[in-house]
Symmetry: C2
Subunit: 176 residues, 2 copies
């Protein structure tokens, strides 16, 4: 009934720690790690036991993961319980998280900068320096976003190719 090896535990615990450093709760990260390394879909009861957490915590955390688009429900023949699984393609996972963080965090920041700059214009604010800084921040977000747009669509294999080119592309473009 889902017995974790010490190696699997190690991986899951580490992933939990990582999560906390990125604003994701330990449990949510651990569940994701468990689903990632387990060969079959796992049900809530099994997660409860494997990670020694409350049933309700599993429920909430799974919802959170579903909110990120990282976990989906499946069903096992002859079993009424919901079973959960996550993606096996790490790049795809990464892409999803990027997209979601952009939506949740970058876009609102963009809006805030826009608002601040608009208000500054309206009030003929004489605070040149702050305006300069806000513009530079806006420029950063704009440029970073463009870079992101250009690569967001790349497949896993494309990334691997790009990584394998050893930087000559960028050198050729004289972007050193």
């Amino acid at each position: 009934m889902l017995e974790l090896s010490s190696i699997q535990k190690k991986y899951i615990l580490h992933w939990g720690e990582m999560g906390t450093k990125w604003g994701i709760s330990r449990t949510v990260a651990q569940i994701h790690a468990l689903l990632y390394i387990w060969p079959e879909p796992v049900n809530a009861e099994e997660i409860t036991v494997a990670l020694s957490i409350a049933r309700s915590n599993v429920s909430m955390s799974i919802k959170e993961l579903q909110g990120w688009g990282l976990v989906k429900v499946t069903h096992v023949m002859g079993n009424r319980k919901d079973h959960f699984e996550t993606l096996t393609d790490v790049w795809e996972m990464f892409r999803i998280v990027m997209e979601e963080r952009k939506r949740r965090e970058v876009d609102p920041t963009f809006a805030m900068l826009e608002e601040c700059l608009a208000e500054m214009k309206k009030s003929r604010d004489s605070d040149k320096y702050t305006k300069e800084r806000l513009l530079e921040m806006q420029d950063f977000f704009t440029t970073a976003n463009k870079c992101y747009e250009q690569t967001r669509g790349l497949s896993t294999s494309s990334f691997r190719k790009l990584a394998g080119m050893g930087g000559w592309v960028l050198k050729a473009l004289k972007l050193g």
Copy 2:
């Protein structure tokens, strides 16, 4: 004595919120925002008043920011107080944070994966599936790191150029 406009407050508060979503304490992020938009170096006392926080909190938070390499001390002529300032180049800031997060979070994860895989080999672990997943995760980190290595050195203006190319580079490389 460092009076914040409502726009400046808005920016600082937003930045504080953002911080919490990325595992950085509200205060630390707010102080960073304040230093970023303020035209002159700011001393601890001023931060205390401007953000309505305890003097000791300023001290600790500044230390944290210094730990990230984002804030440095300067001195104002005829004033014994330490004054603080941060970078004005957002890209440089971003680069520093990336580098530091890599060191603090990616490298340890790399090491953990290495350890897990080594242990698996030693114990002739028959858990093929988990091994596969760990290898794939390792591959992701390796490739992502290579991509990062290739761009970490790019200057701010190079990034802007790259962003301006509208993706034709990647298309030309048939990396769609």
